[in-house]
Structure formats: C-alpha cells, structure tokens
C-alpha cells in the first residue's frame, strides 16, 4: 500500500489548467461551466457511440478522461446508458451496419439531446466516403449540433468542442 501512496504522492496532481488553445478560453471555461450547471442542473453526462471509426478517435476520447484533462473536474462524465445521457458523442463514418444502432441509441436519449460528431469521418465520411457499406457523416442519420474536425481531433479540441456544444445547445433550446 505504501508503494501506491508514494507513487501517487510522487506524481502529484497532473491536471492542467483549463484549455489554453484559445486565448479567451480560460475565462470562458468558467462561464461555460456555469452554463452546464444552468442548463443541466448538476453535470453533463455523455454517451459515446462508435458508428464505424478506425478507432483513432476513441483513443483520443479516452485521453480526454486522463488526469491531464480531468474531464470529471468539469462535471462531465461518460455514462453507460443513453437513457442517462445529455449528449451523444459520435465517431464516424457511419457504417450501414451501425446506422440502426446509432439511431436507436439517439432515440433512447431523453430530450433535450445534444449530438457532437467527432473527426473528419464523423463530419462527412472522411477518407472512407460514401459507399455500399458507408453512409458518410453522422448527420446522415441523426441531427448534429456540432462537429469537431481532425484525424483524429486532439483531446484539447474534443474538450473545447464539448464545452462549445453545451453553449450552442443552450441557444437552440428555449428555456
């Protein structure tokens, strides 16, 4: 046990200050955080669906959950059921074999639902395009609120996108 405690103490707290990619972002983060509290009560819960990605985007979504980005510190949590989710995070392209599962996951969510499409493939099918097997972007199957481009988008971009979608969603839904 002492080894574990020593390792924890030695590594300390790795969580970095909120994203600084955008100079205005630092002050904005707190406002967005307040937005999350206002719109959703306590927190934002996210259900992730891989609708056909190469799994590169999943690696970066995992990274968003590491101590450096400390997603849970924002009150944001990934949940196992769409019924518990405020936001659907979808990586693409949407394969035809996954279209039905994606639609059903979306349908199972309570309103208001936010949908964020991740990556170039989630945007428009990316390098895989549209074919007998591939529908293309996520918007072909469900309404998308925000797209985070990249191949794959880096964790900081995903974090920024999630926060932006919360704000955009607020504008869209009358309260």
């Amino acid at each position: 046990m002492w080894k574990i405690l020593r390792q924890i103490a030695r590594n300390g707290i790795r969580t970095e200050p909120a994203p600084q990619a955008d100079p205005d972002f630092q002050s904005e983060t707190q406002r967005i955080h307040q937005d999350i509290l206002d719109i959703l009560g306590q927190a934002l819960t996210i259900r992730e669906v891989d609708a056909g990605s190469c799994n590169g985007c999943e690696l970066e979504i995992h990274a968003v959950n590491n101590p450096y980005y400390n997603l849970e510190g924002f009150g944001i949590k990934f949940v196992a059921s769409p019924r518990h989710a405020d936001m659907l995070l979808v990586t693409g392209p949407v394969s035809r074999n996954m279209a039905m599962a994606l639609k059903r996951t979306y349908d199972a969510m309570p309103a208001p639902k936010l949908v964020v499409a991740i990556g170039d493939c989630g945007r428009d099918g990316g390098i895989f395009g549209e074919s007998y097997a591939c529908l293309g972007g996520v918007a072909k199957v469900i309404p998308v609120d925000l797209t985070i481009p990249g191949c794959p988008p880096e964790p900081i971009e995903i974090l920024k996108g999630i926060l932006t979608a919360v704000r955009y969603g607020q504008k869209k839904s009358p309260r």
Binding site: R14, G52, S53, C54, L59, I61, H62, P67, I127, S131
Partner: protein, 527 residues
C-alpha cells in the same frame, strides 16, 4: 521455399522478408493447406480477388502461409463457371470467417463449409450484390434497407440463459455483438458477431492511386496506424522493387516501437481499471499522454499517422527531430522505464489485482496452437513467433530483439508480456535514437512504375499485419499507378475466435478484463 509432397511453381517476390508466390489447382489448394499445417506453418490470411478481364481471367482465392523460411502466397484461379473452392476451415479453424467474408464481398464460396452464414453483410446491401466484383460501381448505394437477424447458436439446458451485449457497448469501445450463454454467472459459450464497422475499405482502395494507399491503410485500425502504413508501403516497394534508404527504415522502426509502447501503456492501465484498480489507469494514462505529446512535438502527429509514405518517411529531416530531439526521446525512455518498473512492482504485489489476473481467461499452449493464436497474446501462451526475431529487417537485424515469452496463457501472462515488451521497446528506441544513420530518408518513386504484385509483413503491437497488393499499370496521367486489389489483414481475425474459448468457464464480470487483455481490433477485420 517448398512444401513437402507438392510440386509448386513458386516465384520469389523482391521483399525484405522472403516471400514466394505461385498458382495451384483445386486439389493442391487443400493439399497445400494440409502440408503447411503438418510442417508447423500457419495460415496468415485468406482473401479473394476478381481478376476477370472481359472473356479472360478468373476469380481468384488466395492464401498466405507463414513458414519457417518465409511466406508462401498461393493463388487458386476458379476456372469456367466455378464459384467454389475447397474449404480449409477444417485445417485452420479461423479461416471460416475469412471464407464467409470473401463470400459476402465476391460471391465465391468455400464448398461444403459447415458455416455459411453471412459475416460482413448484415442486410445493408442485397445478397446478390458483390461489391468487390469488377463490374460493380463503388458508388452504388442501397438506402432504406433493414438489417437481418442473425441465427446465433443456441445452448439448451436447465437454467441456461442468454445475455446479449452490443453492438453499442457500455464503455468507449468499438461496436460488436457478444452473445453469452450462461448458467448463473458462469459462461458456457460466447458467440461473437462482428462486421458492424464494415466500411468497404477494400473497394475504396480500388479507387485510389497506389501512391495514396498508405493513408487508407493507416486507417484500417487507428491504434496500429504505423504498422499498417509500413506494411502497405513494404508491399508497394516490393511490387516496385524500390530500395528505401537506411535512415528511413530506422525511423519506421522507431515509430513502430513507439506505437507498441503507447498501446501497451494504455492497455496496462485499462487492465488495472477493469479489475477495480483505477490507480493503475490514472498512472499509465499519464505516461501515455506524455508519450503521445512527444510524438506530436517530434513527428508532427500524436499517433504518427501518415508519417510512413511510399519510399520512406515524412518526418522532419532536422529540427525538431535533430540531435537534441533524439536526446529527448532517449531521456523520455529512461523516465518511462523507471516508472514502468515501479508500477510493475505495484501490480505484481497487489493481491486483489493478481487474484483477478491469475488463471483468468486462460488459453493453454496446446489450445493456442490448435486455434492459431497470434501476436503478443500467442507469446503469452507458449508460441514464440515474432517477425522482428524470426525475419529481422534493418534495424532489427543490427539491434537484435528479445521476444517476450510466457506459457500460462492467462490475463496475468498477457500483462507480463506487455510489461516485458514495453521494456524491450524502450531499449530498442534508445538504440535507434542514438544510432540513427544519416542521409536521405526518402526515395521518390517515378510517376510511372511497373504493374505487379507485392506483399508486406510487419509485427505490429497486436500481432502480424499483412498486406497483399496488386498494382495496375500506370495510366500515364496525374494518378500514376492504380490499386487493382489491396487486402489488409489484421491479426484480430485469428484471435477473435480464440477469445470465444478463453472465456469458457469464467464468470461474466471477468469478460471485460479478458477482452481487454487481448484488446482486439474491430475495425481491422471488419474492413
């Protein structure tokens, strides 16, 4: 290279790893499979191609076998109206799914195969539509079709019930369906249904010029992007008989080892987490994040996507990848090595963790051999194949690789192999960074290169990645040579069926742990 008892006309391809290619007839197709199995060889991949050209040419079924002294690539042309070929799933059980996938994509069948259920076609396109046939337009789409039910094998008996999981899983993982037949919490049987991520990659290749194929290959399975891009480029360079500069192959290997370390770090953390030891996840994910950030700084991409290109590498020739940059690589390896030793000692001494790891998800060496287990998982089950050791190309030839090797075949053994492979890769990265040859790191292929066949084999972190490539003649225009056929093979083809055996007799809550200890790709074999 030859097979005992068979007179085959094999011709060597100019590849860094010995490889011979030849034609067989239907009788020799099965005889060859049997001969390979008898002399300890393995089936690596099985795929079909459409080589019809007007009235001539045929559908062709191909198999790639790994032998002691290299690889044999056999083509069986289906003559006349023949659309069947002899089933070899009785000899190599995992060939069954590859044969079913070939039937879905090309309409050629393994004759008298026991299992003829569709594999990739879930009903999203008509059964009489064979996307890989020449006459089929890649842009053809079928909207509004509903998916079909799949006849899972039912287990009958007192108290037996089914648990259906997926395709959307509870965590952030790829989609696939698992059908468990259980009594209480004990698993009697697991049946996998995959193919949800089928994106039509093989058809997409045919729309790309050969010089662009590495980008698509690098997205067959994102966690192995370096291995796939290298295997593709090796295949292309073999078809074109192109020699790459020494510096390029050193940098390729450097990136491949960095990819291996990144994946093992992440999975060791996730293994801790799946056994309720979230400390492990936090610690390993920090190490992985540092690792990926240095990738971004030095190579320009966190996963080094599109950094291996035909003819060499596309990374900075000087800063940030200059002497101080390489020194940072070495320093990071030393730091990570210290941390990994520390974490390993914590994992090894944690009674609760070891209780979950030891004897869980066991694949004993005999079963592993029989089922054709491959990659690092095989090295945890007493099978010592590693391309970096068996057929070392530069720089592995110069540096030497010590493969990890364990026999107990459980989650604990797979974790041990991962720890050992991290340490060996750290050693290799240090040697590569300090001994990196000077000079060019890319040769530019001509606009018009010859048509022909090529193959590439790379030991990715998960196992052997194999790419078989057929390049067409140059169109004398902007596009250059086209890809006639590109088959990318993921080691998960072999290992998914083994997972079905590994969970038998285990309890359902141990499935995520067992699954993660293999961490197989869905996207890779779904193509």
């Amino acid at each position: 290279m030859h097979l005992p008892g068979l007179k085959l006309d094999l011709k060597g391809l100019p590849a860094p790893i010995p490889l011979s290619r030849g034609m067989v007839d239907a009788a020799d197709w099965s005889a060859a499979a049997l001969a390979v199995a008898e002399c300890g060889g393995r089936l690596v991949a099985l795929w079909g191609s459409d080589r019809r050209q007007g009235e001539t040419g045929n559908f062709v079924i191909s198999a790639a076998y790994a032998m002691q002294d290299g690889m044999i690539w056999l083509d069986l042309p289906l003559t006349g109206a023949q659309s069947g070929y002899p089933d070899i799933s009785g000899i190599f059980s995992f060939a069954g799914r590859m044969q079913r996938a070939t039937a879905d994509l090309l309409g050629i069948h393994a004759e008298n195969a026991a299992d003829t259920r569709p594999w990739l076609n879930h009903g999203a396109w008509p059964v009489e539509h064979f996307p890989l046939r020449r006459e089929v337009n890649g842009a053809a789409c079928f909207d509004g079709r509903s998916l079909k039910d799949y006849p899972f094998v039912r287990v009958e008996g007192d108290g037996v019930h089914e648990i259906a999981v997926g395709p959307v899983h509870a965590g952030i993982i790829e989609p696939g369906h698992f059908r468990f037949s259980v009594v209480g919490e004990k698993v009697l049987r697991l049946e996998e249904r995959l193919g949800y991520k089928h994106k039509g990659i093989e058809k997409r290749f045919e729309q790309l010029p050969a010089s662009e194929g590495h980008r698509l290959a690098g997205r067959v399975s994102g966690d192995s992007t370096v291995a796939y891009a290298w295997a593709y480029c090796m295949a292309l360079e073999s078809a074109w008989n192109l020699q790459i500069p020494a510096r390029a192959s050193w940098l390729r290997a450097l990136m491949l080892e960095r990819e291996r370390v990144a994946n093992h770090l992440g999975d060791l953390g996730a293994l801790g987490n799946d056994a309720a030891f979230s400390f492990g996840l936090a610690q390993f994910m920090c190490l992985k994040e540092d690792w990926l950030r240095l990738n971004k700084e030095l190579f320009g991409h966190r996963f080094m996507m599109d950094k291996i290109i035909p003819g060499g590498v596309d990374v900075p020739l000087d800063a940030p990848l200059d002497a101080p940059g390489l020194a940072r690589l070495v320093a990071q390896c030393e730091l990570v090595e210290r941390e990994v030793h520390q974490l390993r000692s914590i994992y090894d001494n944690h009674a609760g963790l070891q209780d979950r790891f030891i004897t869980t998800g066991r694949v004993v060496p005999e079963l592993a051999k029989q089922l054709g287990l491959t990659g690092f998982a095989a090295r945890a089950s007493g099978i010592s194949h590693d391309l970096r050791v068996d057929f070392p190309i530069s720089p592995y030839r110069e540096l030497g690789v010590k493969a990890a090797f364990h026999r107990s075949g459980d989650v604990a053994a797979r974790a041990k192999v991962r720890f050992e492979e991290i340490l060996e890769s750290l050693r290799l990265i240090r040697r590569m960074a300090s001994g990196l040859p000077d000079g060019e790191q890319r040769v530019n292929p001509d606009k018009e290169m010859p048509a022909g066949f090529g193959a590439g084999r790379i030991e990715g972190w998960r196992g052997e990645i194999f790419v078989a490539l057929e390049i067409g003649a140059s169109d004398q225009g902007e596009q250059g040579n086209r890809i006639l056929r590109c088959h990318c093979h993921d080691p998960s083809w072999q290992n998914w069926p083994v997972l079905e055996y590994a969970v038998i007799g285990n309890i359902v809550p141990d499935f995520p742990l067992i699954n993660k200890s293999f961490n197989l790709s869905y996207s890779g074999p779904d193509l």
